[in-house]
């Protein structure tokens, strides 16, 4: 089977270790969906292990929803294959794929009670009535809505409705659960709470899940692995840590979290260090690794910039710069400082404000970056 090669070979980043086909729940191989001659999604390849929580993350229009809809069967595929449980499902109509799907908008059937909503799919499968009652009750228990069984959807809050929608999918015991931004219509607090419930539930049921979102916080918090998409292509596949700490591209670096990107020329500066001379003239030391001198881009996460009042300590003279605060945004836990570093390079730094440390705009500071915290983006 030629697809086996493509399974891991499609994308050089975040390659899934091919530890036997048995553990793969879903494989998407060179999937292409064309809209017009210049708008297309793919080719995309990735595979998901049993019980994995996998996120498709990207800005709107990046192709993440299209990918999801192709898997669900609502969009036709122009080329490539989708293999679910070892079976190519491209020709299987959506109502026979058995995949669970929870939408962004509330899609409970408004004319049916919570019970009938959850029982909808079981009734279509002609499951005996007694079994239906047991399974519906169990599914509602899972989402902690057991006592709402007789309510109509209009009598539920938005969060409750989405939980019933989840129960409606889970009760079918699908081999794969697709979540299409299921929490985006909820308010922030509810979203955070539901995020944790969802994660706990997924772990408990060991449910293979694909989660589509444009919210990087959600993706980072929930996922075993994340695929970052941009303009119809996968930029990177990896664990949340990999994605955050070792972004594969400028796009990923900027899309996930806050970032300072410094472009410049690298020069060797000793055995273990190189020095980056930015376009503005800032000289920044970084771990040399296997890097050779030449043009490159460095990423410094704002929380890695250490801000202190006064002079730089002698032991950390390298990468210690005078910095001036241009503006300050107080966010409670943290504060964001827009800096002009070394009188030339604008950067963002985050730090807790304390009684000892509460600088105001215009105030001079020292900014220090550990060379180990300067991450060089792959070319």
């Amino acid at each position: 089977m030629t697809g086996k090669r493509a399974l891991t070979g499609g994308n050089s980043d975040g390659v899934v270790p091919d530890d036997g086909q048995r553990d793969v729940a879903l494989a998407v191989n060179r999937l292409v969906r064309r809209y017009s001659s210049d708008v297309a999604v793919g080719p995309l390849s990735f595979s998901i292990r049993h019980g994995e929580f996998f996120s498709l993350l990207g800005p709107s229009g990046c192709g993440k929803s299209t990918t999801l809809r192709c898997i669900a069967g609502f969009e036709s595929v122009d080329s490539g294959e989708i293999v679910l449980g070892g079976r190519n499902i491209e020709q299987v109509p959506p109502h026979k794929r058995g995949i669970g799907l929870v939408f962004q908008s509330y899609t409970l059937f408004p004319h049916l009670s919570v019970f009938d909503n959850v029982a909808f799919g079981l009734k279509l499968q002609k499951v005996p009535r007694a079994d239906i009652a047991v399974r519906v009750a169990k599914a509602l228990e899972l989402v902690a809505l057991g006592e709402f069984v007789a309510r109509m959807p209009s009598q539920l809050s938005g969060g409750q409705q989405q939980r019933v929608a989840l129960a409606r999918s889970l009760v079918m015991e699908p081999p794969l659960l697709l979540l299409d931004e299921p929490m985006s219509s909820l308010d922030l607090k509810l979203r955070t709470q539901m995020r944790e419930e969802l994660r706990a539930l997924q772990r408990r049921l060991n449910m293979t899940t694909i989660f589509v979102t444009h919210d990087q916080t959600e993706a980072l918090a929930l996922s075993d692995r994340i695929a970052v998409l941009s303009q119809g292509k996968i930029e990177q596949i990896g664990t949340p840590e990999e994605i955050y700490l070792r972004p594969a591209s400028r796009f990923v670096a900027q899309f996930i979290g806050n970032s300072n990107l410094v472009s410049g020329q690298a020069e060797r500066a000793g055995d273990t260090l190189i020095e980056i001379v930015s376009e503005s003239g800032l000289r920044l030391a970084a771990k040399a690794g296997t890097l050779r001198p030449g043009p490159l881009t460095a990423l410094i996460r704002p929380e890695r910039i250490r801000l202190t009042a006064g002079e730089a300590a002698p032991e950390c003279r390298r990468n210690s710069f005078p910095a001036e605060i241009r503006s300050r945004t107080y966010l409670g836990e943290d504060a964001h400082f827009q800096l002009l570093v070394d009188g030339r390079e604008p950067m963002l730094a985050t730090r807790k404000m304390t009684d000892d440390f509460a600088p105001s705009p215009g105030q001079p500071l020292m900014a220090y970056v550990d060379p180990a915290d300067v991450y060089i983006l792959p070319a």
Binding site: A72, F74, P93, P94, H95, K96, R97, G98, I99, G100, L101, F103, Q104, S105, T107, F109, P110, H111, F120, G121, L124, Q125, M152, A165, R168, S169, M172
Partner: protein, 283 residues
């Protein structure tokens, strides 16, 4: 604006007053007049006499008129049923197609309403006649079968469906348009094929449109005159034709009035029934 008038009128009155006035002048009062007239005695000379009587209503319960009344409701029900069967798929297509296709489709759907019932009926005569388009087409195809439904209930039903279909499609389309496509997809991933999805999701959720369409089709179908006269012949006569004859030829306005009142009452009963049934299911 608010310098005078200590007691303000409720604002809804301003919204409905013009139409309300129109209804009172052109519907309620004339209808009241019809009701009053239906209890007067007929006179061949002066149309009605100032004598109160219920005999006009008694005349309705003859085998002849009972048969006509039954036929009227039968044709009304069959027509409405066919409009539902034919209208649902069309309405679904229109609600789900592109805006442009919908505009064009709506225009095509509305065409029958732009032709008067008289012209439309003559058109059906041309099609259904013994040497009409339909039979000529059959002959041209070398078939010996002939369509011989002109001057029968079938012809009336056919023309009524043609004429009333827009009134079914319009409210249905408006209702289906409001159902989110995600709702359909939700049913689909739960295992519902297209037909099951339509039955379990589209039909119950477009109930409001269905009720409007059914009421419109049924009440118009049971009160037509021209279509049944021209296409039904003696086998397709409906209550409307009976009323027409009584008004125009016999000038028996009192009896015609009693028939009209029965027709109006039937429509009101049908409406209440449909609305009650409709409300009961949608909690």
């Amino acid at each position: 604006m608010s310098t005078s008038s200590p007691r303000k009128l409720p604002s809804w009155l301003w919204l409905v007053a013009p139409y309300l006035a129109l209804l009172v002048v052109f519907l309620a009062l004339p209808l009241a007049n019809v009701l009053v007239l239906s209890f007067h005695r007929y006179s061949p000379v002066s149309i009605w006499e100032p004598t109160l009587t219920v005999e006009n209503y008694g005349q309705i319960f003859t085998p002849y008129l009972s048969a006509i009344t039954l036929r009227t409701f039968r044709i009304g029900l069959i027509t409405t049923g066919l409009c539902v069967l034919l209208g649902y798929p069309v309405a679904y297509y229109l609600a789900r197609c592109s805006k442009r296709a919908m505009t064009i489709g709506m225009f095509i759907i509305l065409l029958p309403l732009m032709v008067s019932a008289v012209v439309g009926s003559f058109g059906w005569i041309v099609i259904l006649g013994r040497s009409g388009l339909a039979n000529n087409a059959l002959a041209a195809l070398g078939l010996s079968a002939r369509i011989d439904i002109l001057y029968s209930e079938s012809a009336v039903v056919l023309a009524l469906v043609h004429f009333l279909l827009p009134l079914m499609v319009l409210p249905l389309t408006a209702s289906i348009e409001k159902i989110s496509v995600r709702m359909e997809e939700a049913a689909t991933v739960l295992g519902a094929g297209p037909v099951t999805m339509f039955r379990l999701v589209i039909v119950p959720l477009s109930r409001a449109g269905l009720i409007s369409g059914v009421l419109l089709c049924f009440s118009i179908a049971i009160s037509v005159v021209v279509i049944s006269a021209l296409l039904g012949g003696r086998r397709g006569r409906l209550i409307g034709n009976e009323i027409y004859d009584q008004v125009i030829t016999a000038a028996n306005w009192p009896f015609a009035s009693s028939l009209a009142i029965v027709l109006v009452l039937s429509i009101i009963i049908a409406m209440s029934l449909a609305l009650t049934l409709g409300r009961r299911k949608v909690a």
